[in-house]
């Protein structure tokens, strides 16, 4: 439900990080954690909407889903799509989620200046 506000944040951050005219931004790379409370297809839809609003029709939004990574008390580290499945090494649940809770802006691609 909050993907539109995330999209605005992403586009604004991309523009400010590129140190370039926004019309030269060709792509924005975003990673969406499996436990980030954001939906990949909604985020893709909203990013397109916001990019068009910013007159950035040429900019491609590349949204990549990222599985959760967890670390078990037994020392096992693994990635999972099912947080309710037991640790494959010890069968327990004493785990911490170490990755997959965030939506991250990974990179901005900027075309070279002409001339």
């Amino acid at each position: 439900m909050h993907e539109l506000s995330l999209s605005e944040e992403i586009v604004r951050a991309a523009i400010s990080a590129s140190h370039a005219d926004k019309s030269r931004i060709t792509a924005i790379g975003v990673r969406v954690g499996a436990l980030s409370a954001a939906n990949v297809s909604s985020l893709e839809f909203c990013l397109r909407l916001v990019l068009d609003q910013y007159d950035m029709q040429r900019t491609e939004a590349r949204v990549t889903p990222v599985p959760a990574r967890v670390e078990c008390a037994c020392g096992q580290r693994y990635q999972t799509d099912d947080i309710f499945a037991a640790c494959p090494a010890c069968g327990g649940y004493m785990r911490e989620v170490t990755e997959g809770k965030d939506v991250t802006i990974e990179y901005v691609e900027v075309e070279d200046e002409e001339g």
Binding site: M1, E9, A13, L35, I105
Partner: protein
Amino acid sequence: MKRVNLRRSVQESNDAVAARNRETFARNGVYVMNIIGSPGCGKTSILEYTARHFDGRFAAIIGDVKTTLDAERIAACGVEAHAIETGGGCHLNAAQIASAIGKLPLAELDFLFIENVGNLVCPSAFDLGENIKVAVLSVPEGDEKVRKYPDLFVRADVLFINKTDLLEHCAYDIDRVKADARKARAGVRIFTTSASGGTGFEPWFEFLRGTRERAVAGPQ
């Protein structure tokens, strides 16, 4: 073509404000709880019961899409309560809390309850500067909510299973809910309550007393 690597959380600006809120709360010795649950699960009722029966200095910030009704209910218990009407926003953010805490007598408080907008999804992703996240479920919602909304339950420090007075009327496997919550987060504290019947609150009050004592004692 050049690539600028950022690798930063989209929540970075919210997190920066949340960190400032957290410092302000810590400086004033206020223990802050971010309370998240569906519309109608009993968040306000739990706060009302707590305000009336637990001996502590409270204030509350109540988020709703529209109306100040819930804040009025808390104020009627003799607790200072500020309403935040989000006007359609599906969650509270750290900036909204930052502007609300300016109106609160923080130095005179032990606990601040922040009741989030009724929603099991978005509020879990926004740090407000709280000490703990408190998830609230209720029996008539059904016993699959932990499975269906894992993003909240991997973050929740405390879980209320409320409206236990309705257990006899609902096909609700409470042991399954507890087991799922512990799979999502091994250390979660679980309280089973009926806010309307006033049952199950003593372990919660014990927990609140413990947090306050730990806060007074300082970091171990």
